[in-house]
Symmetry: C2
């Protein structure tokens, strides 16, 4: 009879659920990111339910309380069941959380000692004779990371019945860099204004701050630089320190520290000093007092990020001091508190006539060994500036005595803003897998970054955030994948971008293999597509002035030579490309000899980097058998075709995605298709004026003449 | 037995509902505005259900389809029942929608002929012998307005069983003015950036555009000026016309037309002409062609709003032409398409040494009768600029041959931004109820605005929007009430602000009288509170430079005299206040004689306007028996005390409001309490340097000295 009652109830309950679920509040707008926790298929629910009957967690650690709450939220949603969290009872199928200090965890005799502060174990065990899953670590944050890992397994349909996972981050500092200004504009931000509402902080906070912390913790990000590297001194004044402290309080239990970008000239601008000379004792004393003030408000403040003597920013060179002098002075100020200084190597100077690609290396290489032990030098992935493709930065492997941290750009300044679907996991992976040959074969950039190559304990990876107030956080659904992939690769720089894409797609949309396989394929190919339709064969920095949206290869009127696209492509009647071999700028010599040899020889350089390193004749014969001009046009055409293929493919995937997000992505792909064509047409129209050759057979002429493309203006492009 | 089954089910269903309702997606973040549609109390659900069994609506009119969908959504939520919408069947308790052209509506013989295009009837009727509720109008939009009215009745618990409502808007143009820039910044915006994502339009639209239209339609707003009156010519270029057209397409079925602010010098800036002289035939031809281009994309384009020769904007006076010359030339361009020109009277000139309060009147009064019949002059509520309190603008009643439309500011530029709780319904009502005496007693501003005083058919009311991308739309929960009240008062300028507040509070939070009564009382008092703690007794424009946040009565260093607070308060050793009587600027003479006499005489002027019109001795005896200085301080204290009372009162209302929004409002009130004190302390510290008298007994000294307040800086205040 009871069964009959429940049978009868079932239909009613489903009707009620359907009614509630049809409400507007459950619309899929992307806000939930990869932490959607929508119900799994019935069969999967049945499989997991016995393995997730309850959550047993001590209540004294705030991070573990959050881990338990997240598991409760996630499992209750995924399994459509109430998975209660409590402190004590262990039922069969319970999930037990705890640290090495807990009695029940200690009794399990798990090998926790090598996990460090942030690593964790997830294991199927027996507790008091009952089957259970334990998530154990040496800190509450480690447990929280493990909880998110377990949730991911359930979200993506991985088995958890005989589980034995050990995970330890390979990189110490896994940071977002927000180029967010105090007026809430975001330099190179394409997802609306800054999520930091500085004006209302610290009194009024946004629930989004917590969801930001959840999302970051779920992928292991453990620090955030709140303000733009083009910094204002105001961020170091008392009111703004109080605002940052409020954010730090919110983020702390999620294992996220706050950092600030420091304006080099702050001692003058807000300190009333006459100088910012790093060797002036008054300047050092000012920074020390400022650090003390910050740490009084934020005891676990991470430290400073500094952009100095670059693109107009002040710095120690204004006083004839070196970058090391500057970094070390700041480092001394934060050292008593355990803080660090991240000193950016992205420098190039007005006065320097050298190839811009050479300058950071020339400036920093001689300083190797001169930095204090709490300084880490932050190097962009390539020597120019976040192009669709760049060879790895020659500094990686070239400063063995100095910890170098990676700076990737998650926000797509040069890759079609948030409008174009480009999965950056593929780009990040390509750089990390590049072999510097600094200590022979296998000296990958990943091994420079994780410290294993040169034995550095201090390691880091920073990503310039693509986050804003847009409801979907990142300006498009697919740009969420780039935030996600960054976090996962910062945890493990040798992880597979393809595997990460599969996790993301499964958590974000659907775990159906008929969906995941084509979407992952599309994501992995999307990066090559943008290279092809914007800057194929090693071309770079051809974007329009200032905002960097759309093609501007003809631009030659900017104040500084190395801000002009013509500086980079050097097209002429004979050919195209930047000669960086010894007949040219010889930037290639900055790489280790095996790399320099390969890149410096037109016969061995990979075609993808050809025009980065060589000025090549239009009739140069390529691997395809085509001459360079024909190959160039073919690549442009290939990029356009690839976007058309993405569009067609996504259209077939409607059955797997809610209507709102599916349509949303379709609209973005339509724009991308139009703009890929624009890039191709404008670039070909321009380069044809040098090549003076016909287009290869089957390749249509540009839709407009060159003047049409040159006349396009975008005065209100975002992020500029 | 079946009953037993359902009894058993009930508990389970409630558990499932509770589980789902506990999810994050149902969090009350304010996004739903006053259209929340959360379930009513059980007893109310039971009362309404028989009266809302189904929705019968023809499917051929897009506005009626929207009305039916909104009723379905609203009633299904409120009554926790599926209220189906269909085209045909009339069941007992159905809600029948339709226009005069529908057979079933015509058969009812309703008096629709006097409703105009936008009015509606809601009546309890019998259709085919069955009891029903009919919503009838002469247009689909009229039906939509009626549907929102019916929903409001259900939301607020009003009976609908014997209903007989007739509603016709008294004002033709009920418009929002967005001071939104093309880069998404919002001048005087305190709710995040512009909801118009110009960059992504027209290809990519935000679901928010639809919710914006729903919210506006629900309060009768029928037009929106998309861009800032400080306009850029780019908004008139083809790409931006296409973007505006996309918004127009979305808004059209909601009865909302789009308008654009026109940059006077656009013919030069984007037209390639040498002049923008309105009497130059080439200029007129350019605007005519531009209007044709806009109407080709937006057939129901509303017309232009123009800020000319004011605060640095170009205008016809640059060519020695009058405002009428300028307005009429533009009016001729849009006239063939049925468009209008709204010409702002907010002008004051660098060169003019006259009292700024006089200048708009002096400029426009002589032009009465000289404007084309599709021009309407838009006048701010007061002669200065959206102060916490201003006497009504002397132009109201002074230009009988010219239709004047009201410009209110919904965004709180001078009233504590979105942070301070100030219900502007009380301010709007005070202005509208003011008697101009233009045609004897009863010549209220409301009757100027609704056209009844001078027989104008063209009427309008504009509100400068307080809308942005913040999740709660307006930067705070209570600022939603100001958007709401503006719409309701635009529909009926003689409506009661108190009654509107009650509707809003009931729809937005709770209809419990134990909640509504104290909240409405608090809202109605909140406006007097801000007057008291910022600018009591007729003081005005004492806000800090530029951003207008916080006190700056001491500011005297701005380029233009009339930008300085000292220009307005004129405090000296003898007294304080601006003499606008005949011994001073004589601005008072711009009012009709009975008003001028009352305001011009220190014995009869209301104390609330005292220092607006008179320079008054510190020892002047006030109605309270106190001298002016003591009264001034007492008012400041009263304002601070009122905010403390609001805080205490809101704290007691927690049982009626979800925890998130209750806490949110508490945090805002805490800031307001601190800042009311700041205003009071800084103002008293400053004025005491002139009055040189002790504070009245019991009034504490300012917390800091004057220099402290003068030194405060807010370089990143929003909206500036």
């Amino acid at each position: 009879m009871r069964k009959g009652v429940f049978g009868a109830c079932r239909a009613l309950i489903l009707a009620v659920v359907a009614l509630l679920a049809s409400g507007p509040a459950l619309a899929e707008d992307g806000y939930d990111l990869w932490l959607r926790y929508r119900p799994l298929a019935d069969s999967a629910q049945a499989r997991y339910r016995p393995l997730a009957t309850a959550i047993a967690a001590p209540q004294d650690d705030p991070s573990i309380r959050i881990a338990a709450a997240e598991l409760h939220r996630g499992l209750s949603g995924l399994l459509r069941a109430d998975v209660p969290a409590s402190a004590d009872a262990i039922a069969p199928g319970a999930i037990l959380l705890g640290t090495s200090g807990d009695r029940r965890i200690a009794a399990l005799g798990l090998p926790l000692s090598t996990l460090g502060r942030e690593g964790y174990l997830i294991r199927s065990v027996r507790v008091d004779g009952k089957p259970a899953t334990v998530i154990a670590a040496n800190s509450g944050v480690g447990v929280l990371y493990g909880a998110f890992h377990l949730l991911r397994l359930v979200q993506t349909g991985d088995p958890i019945d005989r589980i034995d996972i050990r995970s330890v981050p390979k990189v110490e500092l896994r940071l977002l860099n927000h180029w967010d200004n105090l007026d809430r504009s975001v330099e190179r931000g394409y997802a609306g204004q800054s999520i930091w509402d500085w004006w209302k902080l610290p009194d009024i906070t946004n629930p989004r701050y917590v969801d930001y912390a959840r999302a970051n913790a779920s992928i292991g990000i453990n620090g955030t630089v709140l303000n733009n590297v083009n910094a204002k001194a105001d961020s170091l004044t008392a009111p703004y320190i109080a605002k940052a402290a409020k954010l730090a309080d919110i983020f702390r239990p999620y294992g996220i520290r706050v950092y600030l970008s420091a304006r080099w000239s702050a001692p003058i601008e807000i300190g009333g000093l006459k100088t910012a000379d790093p060797l002036d004792p008054a300047v050092a004393a000012w920074w020390k007092a400022k650090a003390d003030e910050i740490y009084a408000a934020i005891p676990d403040f991470g430290g400073f990020l500094v952009k100095a003597n670059s693109e107009g920013q002040p710095g120690p060179q204004d006083y004839q001091r070196s970058h090391a002098d500057g970094a070390n002075m700041l480092a001394a100020a934060v050292k008593p508190h355990g803080g660090i200084v991240m000193w950016r190597a992205f420098v190039y100077a007005h006065e320097n006539p050298d190839d811009r690609a050479r300058q950071a290396y020339d400036e920093f290489k001689p300083l190797d060994g001169r930095f204090a032990d709490n300084v880490i030098v932050q190097v962009k992935n390539g020597a120019i500036d976040f192009q669709p493709r760049e060879p790895f930065h020659p500094l990686f492997g070239a400063m063995p005595k100095t910890p170098l941290m990676m700076e990737f750009q998650i926000t797509k300044e040069y890759l079609g803003f948030a409008t174009h679907l480009v999965y950056l996991g593929a780009l990040f992976e390509e750089t990390l897998a590049s072999d510097t040959f600094a200590k022979g074969k296998g000296s990958t950039v990943a091994r420079v970054i994780d410290g294993s190559l040169e034995g550095h304990a201090r390691t880091g990876m920073a990503g310039v955030a693509n986050i804003g107030v847009d409801r979907d956080w990142t300006g498009s659904q697919f740009d969420q994948a780039n935030w996600y992939a960054f976090g996962r690769l910062a945890w493990d720089p040798e992880a597979s971008a393809r595997r990460i894409a599969a996790d993301w797609a499964g958590m974000t949309f659907s775990t159906d293999p008929a969906f995941v396989a084509p979407v992952v394929d599309m994501m992995m190919r999307s990066r090559e597509a943008v290279v092809d339709y914007m800057t194929p064969l090693g071309l770079h920095h051809l974007m329009a002035t200032g905002h960097h949206y759309g093609p501007g290869p003809w631009v030659d009127d900017l104040e500084r030579p190395d801000w002009n696209p013509v500086y980079y492509h050097r097209a002429d009647a004979q050919g195209i490309g930047f000669d960086r071999t010894k007949t040219g700028s010889n930037a290639v010599a900055q790489y280790a000899p095996p790399v320099a040899r390969q890149l410096g020889d037109i016969r061995t350089v990979p075609e993808r980097d050809l025009l980065w390193f060589h000025h090549v004749r239009w009739d140069h014969r390529m691997a395809s058998g085509r001459i360079l001009w024909d190959e160039l046009v073919t690549r442009y055409d290939r990029g356009v075709a690839e976007v058309a293929a993405m569009r067609a493919r996504w259209a077939t995937l409607a059955p797997y995605v809610d209507a709102d997000r599916h349509a949303d992505v379709m609209r973005f792909l339509a724009v991308q298709a139009r703009e890929a064509q624009w890039w191709r047409d404008a670039s070909i129209a321009y380069f044809a004026t040098f090549a003076r050759r016909p287009l290869p057979a089957g390749s249509p002429p540009p839709a407009h003449d060159l003047d049409y493309y040159k006349a396009l203006r975008f005065p209100y492009a975002p992020g500029n």
